[in-house]
Amino acid sequence: MNRLLHPGHLEDWRKRLIDETSPVRRTIVVTAGTCGRASGALEIRDALQAEIDRLGAGDNVGLLVTGCHGFCEMEPSVIVQPEGIFYGKLKPEDAPAIVKQTALAGKVVERLALEIPGTERRAAKLEQIPFYRKQMRLVSENNFRVDPERIEDYIRLGGYHGLLRGLYDMTADGVIEEIRASGLRGRGGAGFPTALKWDLCRRSSGHPKYVVCNADEGDPGAYMDRSLLEGNPHAVIEGLIIGAYAIGASEGFVYVRGEYPLAVRNVERAIGQARECGLLGKAILGSEFSFDLHVVEGAGAFVSGEETAMMASIEGRKAFPRPRPPYPAEAGLWGKPTNINNVETWATVPIILDRGSAWFASIGTEKSKGTKIFSLVGQVRNTGLVEVPMGVTLREIVEEIGGGVPEGRKLKAVQTGGPSGGCIPAASADLVIDYETLAKAGSIMGSGGMIVLDDRTCMVDLARYYLHFLEEESCGKCAPCRVGTRQMSELLRKMTAGKADESDLRRLEQLAQTVKTASLCGLGQTAANPVLSTLAHFRSEYEAHIREKRCPARVCREIISSPCQYACPIGQEASTYIALVAAGRIKEAYEVIVKDNPLPSICGRACDHPCEIACKAGESGEPISIRAIKRYVCDRAAAEGWDQEVRGDKDRVPRDRENVAIIGGGPAGLTAAYDLAEKGFRPTVFEALPVAGGMLAAGIPNHRLPKTIIAAEVEAIRKAGVEIRTGVRVGRDVTIEGLKTDGFKAFFLATGAWKSMRLNVPGEESKGVLQSLPYLKAVNLGEPVNIGPRVIVVGGGNSAIDAARAAVRDPNVKSVTILYRRTRAEMPAFPEEVEAAIDEGIDLKLLAAPVKILAKNGKVAGALCLKMKLGDKDAGGRRKPVPVEGSDYKVEAETVILAVGERSDTSCLTEKDGVAVSASGSVIADPETKATSVPGVFAGGDVVTGPASVIEAMAAGRRAAAMIECYLEGRPLLPEYKLTRPSLYIEAVALTPEEAVSAARPPMPHLAPAKRAKNFKEVELGLKEKAALGEARRCLRCDLETEDGRRAIKALKLKSGGRP
């Protein structure tokens, strides 16, 4: 290696290095930091090398292994220079194409180019890739260009030139002046001006002086320090030498996290090289300045990142922080003046000296100059390190560079600055990033961690996580931090377990204040930030945990217990009855089902099963077929006569309480009535139609939900003490006013959503245009309707599919076509229903929007349609269909059935009743208490929410019954919230080895399509015993994963004499 004994030697060496590099046509740059290696970068390097050797292409193609390129999400990746062609997520098999087509022929390998999400385009050039396009790489640029193991690479690119300028063109004060003029502020913590810090230390009187590089800031989630030390260690070393010269320090330390072994190795090697060349040691570059540098490897204590603690650690002691003043600038290492900066700050210094302060100060905002590297991680599409000029907005970083949160998710907040920082809620995403604005938003820049959080993150859990972390990392020296973090952590644990009450929240807030003001060091003083910041923006989440025992993000396991039970609006204990079925205890399973559900057989067929959507088995495979298991149990109960026995006559409940009028006999009304009867009230259901069941009876055709099933459930409810008066339309036959005089003391409005919406296209008035609900009602009630022979159904919801499947069963109908303007993935109808419709010969035309109903002599002749394509996302995150220009085509038909949505039906109300109705025509009711604007009148279900599910309506009915009881007892309307838990714990079954491998969700047996023709027989036949029991055995039994669950199972095992 060269010894540089004279300033001119550096330039000579650089020139020689440039001359010596043999010109290759292209260089393949492999990113091989720790993250790249973890993703297989070295295998890619080997495969590329093998291919270059095989083709004997070494003279034309170079291979360069560098540190991290920042786009870690895409690793392993390469960049082919000079064109800057980027390929990510590579496999060794891709090597031949990269060498042959790109490195030798300069062509892009299309299949390896990056897909641009939301478009059909692909991009390969760095300047086209959104992740790179918006960045400004100053400090991290050399990570693309140098082999960190070779000082020669750094020198060839002008490395150590800034040092040369400092040593020979400037005085020490001049260097500080230059840094001051650049506006550089510390790239960690609160952004203290670097020149000021240096100057204080320089003017301090002690000797010797020290400089320290803090490479153990350790904010989990921020890793730019590692990347710079691994990929470009000489920049940090050069910065330290310049700083030491300016301050007058003779010795320096790089304190690196022990968790970064590659960084430790690379920086140690680089220091060795620098020493050998005379860039460290005596008389650097022939000047009078001498300085040497050592690496200290951290040993896994977060507090070491605090500067006074770090100094204690370098001295060989426990990393205890101490109060400041005295500041390290006066009394630091061994009591001598010491200056600490972090990795990124040191790495920025040579750039400023090399290119000048004026240039640097031209970048950024008024008070925050230059660029900053952020570690963009968490729930974001493009994770990695990004370097941007100060002053870009948070949204630009997260949305444009980061590509936003994953498909179907919603941005919730961005956590910046590590545990001492705070959360910036999504609503503030337009925040301009600099030190001041972040501080104003209640966070800090810190070392630049940006953890993107979407709706899957629970903010209370996040606070718990941080406080647990800080509790463990508190060095324990001062009591406010040691005890305070422990107590806060304990309170948060209680909250996330659903065991806290309001007083705990108050205590948490008090503790946070105490810890903030009374702690000794920065770690302690900021330890309450995770709590304070989440409380400031997400207080309602805390309240949900505490008051409602709900975790809106569905993260806190002690609150969720089984996701199926938790997700069920009426809290059906799915995991319990599934466990009973698995154990062959079917009758008990039935008891568990009917305990919470007055319409079990209906739900077993027509429920939209939020339980299955939440099922954990569905995360890595198919969810448990919960609805089918429930149906199996109910069918079995009916066959065995258990239903009579279990639900039987409820006359044992004395019915001596007030009369309550339930208006509407759908799922909401029936559930409310049933619950009220169980509580001893005398409920009467007023139903306008000739049958009870509401939408269940009149909206869903028999092939999906047989009338006999509904009748049996209604009968059971009647037996429980509910009077049902069909054919009475409130608002026409009787009024609420009138019912009041008849002695009804409370009312529940549950009239559903029966008003059809229009399509608003020309020709809608033609004869032969029907609305789906009136049509289905007529079919279901056996009234005559004339349709066909060709039928068009417009819409993609269950109502559209029901109408289509009813129509195809009409003897006059020859063909049915469904027109839907989006794709199948967006269809709100149950997928299995869509599948069945196709089986029945219904033609599904997707991305088709009718723009005109065609008519001849006032009668429908068909529809004029436009082809659609999916465009950008709308506010709700769904991609909007946009018409394809000039794509219109005709579909001929004699009947058009519109199923484009329904609105609430408030015809039961008269003006005198005074119940407030919204602009869109729904009854306004408090979502929590179901109370309307009139005391004693409650409302719930579709009449309030617009069309929703059966089970939501039932939950509304249940809540209304509870609130009506409160009201009639003269108590305040306060719902009682309970933690989700099973009423009984059942041991899990052990799967046989074959089951463990091959168990799968059983298909639902169907009536053969040929047998369905022109009749309304039930299509789904229900699971057979073996399938149902087998499926129940597949359940993961999440209910046993809470503390209660584990304890209960241990007790059960002890009792049965087994091993605990």
């Binding site: 973890a38 921020a222 204590a301 996580y465």
Partner: protein
Amino acid sequence: MERDWKAELDDLLKDAGSRPRDTIPVLHQIQEHFDHIPPAALPFIARRLRVSESELFGVLSFYRAFTLKPKGKHTITVCLGTACHVRGSERIAEELETVLGVSAGDTTADGLFTLETVNCLGCCAIGPVMVVDGVTHARTSPQTARDLVENIRTGEKKS
């Protein structure tokens, strides 16, 4: 025969410093060599560094990187840093606790595995991350964790 710690350590540490400020580097070297700090060696280390034994003990128990207990044949480290946490690393640690039957920080009875946790390995973009015998694994899940253990177990059985 008594083990000659002094000679052994002198040999191991021949290039290392012997001032109090060398404590942490020296402990790192010993930890790396023995995979733990042998308690019997403490007096010799203290003498070499010119610190009291209790001081030395204080320091080594303060830092998580140093352990007095020998480790298992294979060490699995799960990152519980924030970026990994929001991607579900807690579940992975729990899965490993169940599969191995030990709590984090402990070694299995057969001496095969030590389970450790860490707050950030600096690979936050490819989390959840775990390190198995020095090799970093990206984008892990409870399932991959379980598979990794199974693979090591089968490998051990064969040999």
